[in-house]
């Protein structure tokens, strides 16, 4: 018996056998911990946004159309499905198909980001900045750009990760587990959008 074994006597079986207590790989556990922490970050941002929106009388409602945000939602949801297909193909050992679906997911994310930037530019063109806008309190710009910007940063990071992990998976350096971990992150980005759309866009529609 080694010294390490001797010092571990009396501890829970999970600690001595090397089997993780949640029966998942360290990579997967790490991304779940990141997701839990990031949930708190986005929730904090959305609650702060709700706080100031609720406490401000002249809150602007600048959105006239839902076309762009509906299209962005559709693309992001569909990219989650393509990510699932990529992971499923990777688990089945179909490397080519898994890589293809991963790249399709990345393209979906890229289109989403471009649509998002286009929307930002349109709002900036109408006179909206971080601290001023023609419709009401300047707090709107700060909260809108902060929340959607944070989400856009996640999408951009996700696209880079998808391309990098996809390429390394194809090259044989990464395996299906790595693709699954990236997929978990991508689904989380999609999940956050499900809360950003109603609270930041739909509640601020011009009627």
């Amino acid at each position: 018996m080694s010294q390490a074994d001797l010092t571990m006597v009396g501890h829970a079986p999970g600690l001595t056998t090397g089997i993780p207590p949640y029966s998942m790989t360290a990579k997967k556990m790490a991304i779940w911990l990141f997701i839990i922490a990031d949930t708190a970050t986005f929730a904090g941002c959305l609650v702060a946004y709700g706080f100031i929106r609720n406490g401000t009388v002249n809150w602007p409602r600048p959105f006239h159309s839902i076309t762009n945000v509906a299209l962005m939602t559709f693309i992001l949801l569909t990219s989650s499905l393509t990510m699932l297909l990529a992971v499923r193909a990777a688990k089945a050992g179909d490397k080519g198909t898994a890589f293809l679906w991963t790249m399709i997911t990345a393209v979906g994310g890229l289109i989403f980001a471009l649509l998002h930037i286009r929307e930002w530019l349109a709002l900036i063109d109408e006179g909206m900045t971080m601290f001023h806008n023609p419709w009401g309190t300047g707090l709107f710009g700060a909260s809108f750009f902060s929340i959607t910007g944070l989400h856009l940063l996640h999408v951009t990071g996700g696209v880079v990760a998808l391309i990098a992990v996809g390429a390394r998976y194809k090259g044989g350096r990464y395996n299906a587990d790595d693709l699954e971990v990236t997929g978990l992150y991508w689904h989380f980005v999609d999940l956050v959008w499900m809360f950003v759309v109603p609270f930041v866009y739909l509640l601020n529609l011009t009627h």
């Binding site: 779940w32 706080f51 609720n54 406490g55 989650s80 297909l85 499923r88 109603p198 609270f199 509640l203």
Partner: protein, 104 residues
Amino acid sequence: MSTAGEHKNGAMGRDLVVYLCLLALAAIQFVIAYQNISGTQMFVRMLIVALVEAGLALLFFMHLWSEKPVFMWSAGIFTVFVLLTLQYGWTDSFRLVNGAPWAR
């Protein structure tokens, strides 16, 4: 006995159903946005739909359903606790507009 191919097709079918449900729920949020109801009612309805969407995405897209229940419970309880503690300041935001009575 089911084959691996049948199992794969079944799982794919479930993913597709969940995807269509998420699309439908997202569409419901857009419909709610055009309803002639108060801001509070609209917020509550959208929140409920968003929570259902998040639940579906977590359980099926992120495969939380197939993880060990102990992980789902420990991560879930911790996360929900943090999310609930974030809500403590709402009464103060009402005070900003309405001027009390909670903060007096």
